[in-house]
Every structure is written in C-alpha cells, then in structure tokens.
C-alpha cells in the first residue's frame, strides 16, 4: 500500500509555464468586445479595477504595437462607460 508523504518539507518554487499569446489575445479581445458592446459598466467596481490592472499586464505578452492598440482601446471604453455613471 502506498503512503502519502505527509511531512515532505517545503514546497518547490512554482515556475510559470510559457505564455500563450493566442489565448491572451482571445481573452483581451473578449474583454474589449464586452466593453465595446456595453451601455453601462458590465462589471462591478472591484472587478473593473481588477481588469484595469490585469489588461495591460496581459497585453505585455503581445507584440508592442498590438498591445498598445488594445490597451488604448480598452482605456477609451472604460472612460466612456465611467462617464455614463
């Protein structure tokens, strides 16, 4: 019968896997489409703040020009949606 190692000690450092630009692009475009189609903010205040921070961090894995374009459009949409509140 196998035994579970209950006291193995410290956990090894987690190493992040390689980034997947196609998945990131898809996620960012989905967020952008959601914002573009919305008439009022589609997220709660805290969720909006979270995406506002995460969006540029994710876009950083894409080619610089594409990232800048996506970030600028997302910012514009957030400004538009905030102005409706």
């Amino acid at each position: 019968m196998s035994r579970l190692p209950l006291f193995r000690g410290t956990r090894g450092e987690a190493t992040p896997g390689p980034s997947d630009p196609a998945y990131i692009r898809k996620s960012l475009i989905r967020l952008l489409r959601l914002a573009r189609e919305a008439q009022i903010m589609p997220w709660s205040e805290s969720e909006t703040e979270s995406w506002e921070k995460l969006f540029p961090a994710l876009a950083a894995s894409l080619p610089a020009e594409e990232a800048a374009e996506l970030i600028a459009e997302f910012k514009t949409e957030l400004e538009r949606l905030r102005s409706t509140d």
């Binding site: 914002a35 589609p42 709660s44 969720e47 950083a60």
Partner: protein, 142 residues
C-alpha cells in the same frame, strides 16, 4: 412582441453576466453585462424608485434561469404608496446592495493576497479570473 421580449430575455439569461436594474429619467431598465435587455418601462418617480428597488432585491435574492418566470416576478413590484414600509424597503435594498458590494471588495482583496502568495503570472491570474467569472455566471443563473 411579448414573446420576442421574453425570448430576448432568455437569451440574455443564458449568456450570463452581471445584472443591474436602473431607473433613470423616468425609465426603468434591466441590463445584463452592461447591455440593456428590458427597457421603455416608463414610471413616475415614486413608482419607478420602488420598482427599481424591487428589481434590485430580486437580482440580489436569487438566481434566475427561466425568462418567463423571471419576467413574471419582474412584473409584480409592490404598489407605490406613502406608507413608511415602501421607503424602508428602498432603503434596506440599498443597504443590502452596499453590503454585497463590500463583500465582493473583500473577496477581491483576498484573491489579490492569494495571487501574490502563489506568485501567479498575469496569464495564470487571467485563467483564474475567467474561471471566477464563469462560476459567478453559473451561480447567478442558477
């Protein structure tokens, strides 16, 4: 016309997302993910504020999956009156909404701590956030 509106409501419920009721400039509206799904419900100030509070209470008190049933609930706001109960209801729904929002803020702060603790890369955080979004949609839609 009625069937088309219920169908559109069903499609919105199926899509999932954050639901919000707003009464502005005499019009009561329901939004799903920031997109209007019910509108052109024109009410006077007293009836509109009460119906808005009632819709918010419905959204806060339980998930809705079936459009017809949901529409039937939405159609039955309390009748506006001058009795203190109406004002109290509006006030208590506002307090409840604030408390729910405060819980969400705390939950997000806790997530941030965990992301830091596990040293998640932005891509991994994105996976978690999308998963949370899906879970919330499932929870919201029953």
């Amino acid at each position: 016309m009625e069937a088309a509106r219920v169908e559109a409501l069903q499609a919105a419920l199926d899509r999932g997302g954050r639901r919000e009721a707003r009464f502005e400039r005499g019009e009561l509206r329901l939004y799903e993910s920031g997109v209007v799904v019910l509108d052109k419900i024109y009410l006077d100030e007293a009836a509109g504020r009460l119906a808005e509070a009632y819709w918010r209470w419905l959204l806060l008190s339980g998930p809705a999956r079936e459009a017809e049933r949901f529409a039937s609930d939405l159609r039955r706001p309390p009748a506006p009156s001058d009795v203190p109960a109406a004002a109290q209801f509006i006030e208590r729904v506002a307090t409840l909404a604030e408390e729910v929002a405060a819980i969400e803020v705390d939950e997000r702060a806790l997530n941030e701590v965990l992301y830091g603790l596990y040293r998640l890369a932005p891509e991994e955080r994105n996976l978690v956030e999308n998963e949370l979004g899906r879970r919330n949609v499932l929870t919201e839609s029953g």
